[in-house]
């Protein structure tokens, strides 16, 4: 696809900023609605974006979330600066969490974040350097439903 047809938008997320958590995913939803993305895909993107956002708020210092949409696919790229993930396969397991008691009291830390992101995205790539940060790359195919 030629570049001029790629919509790209960046969102800054701050670690520990619970009061603004969810704003990026709400803005993303609004953009997708405006360009007419199917509501079932929209919900999946929204959930994945929200979970990624929450991971930053809970565990990282800061992050940039980039949304890019071309007519064929949608990509969410999250680059964070923070503690990183020591054992990625373990973090991908349902129920595994390093959340503190305070976070659990707020209803987070069920160990469903990353598994939920994986479940909702068509493709997921994750890499992390402990002590530095994590990067997530999520892909959603937009015409998958139409092909079926």
């Amino acid at each position: 696809m030629c570049d001029e047809h790629v919509l790209s938008q960046e969102f800054e997320i701050k670690g520990g900023d619970f009061s603004n958590a969810g704003k990026a995913s709400t803005s993303i939803k609004e953009i997708l609605r405006e360009i007419g993305i199917d509501s079932s895909i929209m919900v999946r993107v929204c959930i994945a974006a929200y979970e990624s956002e929450m991971n930053v708020v809970m565990y990282a210092r800061r992050a940039t979330l980039t949304l890019s949409v071309s007519p064929k696919m949608l990509n969410l790229r999250l680059e964070d600066e923070g503690q990183g993930i020591a054992d990625i396969p373990k973090a991908m397991q349902e129920g595994f969490s390093t959340a503190t008691n305070e976070m659990r009291e707020m209803g987070f830390g069920a160990g469903m974040g990353l598994p939920n992101i994986k479940k909702n995205a068509d493709h997921l790539e994750i890499s992390s350097t402990p002590g530095k940060g994590t990067s997530l790359d999520l892909t959603f195919f937009l015409n998958k439903d139409r092909e079926k």
Partner: protein, 457 residues
Amino acid sequence: MNQYVHFVRVDSEKCDGRMKCMRICPTEAIRIRNGKAVIIEEKCIDCGECITVCPHNAIVPLTDPFGELTKFRYTVALPSPGLHAQFGKEILPKKIISGLKNLGFDDAFDLSHTCGEVSFAIQEYLREYSGPRPLISIACPTVVRLIQVKYPALIEQLIPVEVPREIAARELKKKKAKQLGIKDKEIGIFYLTPCPAKMISIKQPAEKGKSHLDGAISISDIYGPLLAALEEVEKKDYRKDLEDICILGMGWAMSGGICRTLRLKNSLAASGISEILKIFDDVERGKLKNIDFIEAYSCSQGCVGGSLTVENLYISYNKILKMIETLELEQIKACPDIRDVRKLYRQNYYGIDRKIEPRPLKPLDTDLTKAIKKRIEKEEIYESLPKIDCGVCGAPTCMALAEDIVKGEAQLTDCIFNLPQEFADLSQELSGILEKSASFRSVKHGFTKAINKKEKR
């Protein structure tokens, strides 16, 4: 093309473009064009916020005037439980019902028993349901429309149990037609409504072709005459009247009332449009999966806070709350028999007639490639705007103006901050024209000079 009928209208004589409505509208459905408010029908969810906020009462709900009553041979008033909250605590539903008959209605029917039945029907539905949670009550028509427009993915989570007013109207028509030996059409059933949204749900239901109700009269219109028509009730009758009240039904007047009177453990009540938007965002993100039932109202504190009510919403909320507490304390349960409700529930007596369909807003373009292009353009336009949401252009936010420009409904020069640039461009163009004509004149001038010189020689 879908045409949505809205029963909120702008009186352009009274409107002086104050922008209060434009700023409060939760779906950005109002623009100021040529100094007057204009409602964008596609975006309007009939919440009535604009009606409440307008300083000139220029936004009017199209409720029916009393005159409509004469069209029918037999008329029945069906008051919203919210009406019971409008008077002091000594005035019980029974007194209000007889007051309505004094006003000239042939009959009046207290909705609280039907509300009670519907509460039980909701309970049945919750018990048998196994799909995605939480389920959402359809009691508030604005909530239904909000979900149709902004949260189409949550449509499946709306509870397909008909609202009490429709069930009551349907059954009353059948009963009265049989009793009196007249036709359905000759019976007019009028809902006494606390909000314009219910009016609209009668004129254009979200879930089916036609309402069983024939019209709606606002509580604020009927309040004065009704107050004068109320009769004194003797003390001993008061206790008897109290024992007739269905506690489940009273719950429908206020936010949280259904949850409380049904004693639902895993439920949540939310009211006020900005609050329910937050709740639905969370539901959509899958955050509230552990909740079974959400009772949401667009008006603060539920129907008692409707824009067509009279009493202060906290006072009326409190009246209902105290009434429920009294009934709980006295253990008064004049409620329908749950076994009867279950039986009828099996026969789909409480089901809604038709599926509620999503009504998503139109995207910037139906073609995805073009829509993406337009969205990029919109962002570029937004970047050139001052981002202070002053509203002078007639759109509620700079972002909304950018969208209107991309859609071709507004121009960049509508923004007063872009006017200086426009002036600069225009003046440059003008000075260009001036220069051209000046140089032409000087050429002409020079030419004539030369001729004169020649002639002199």
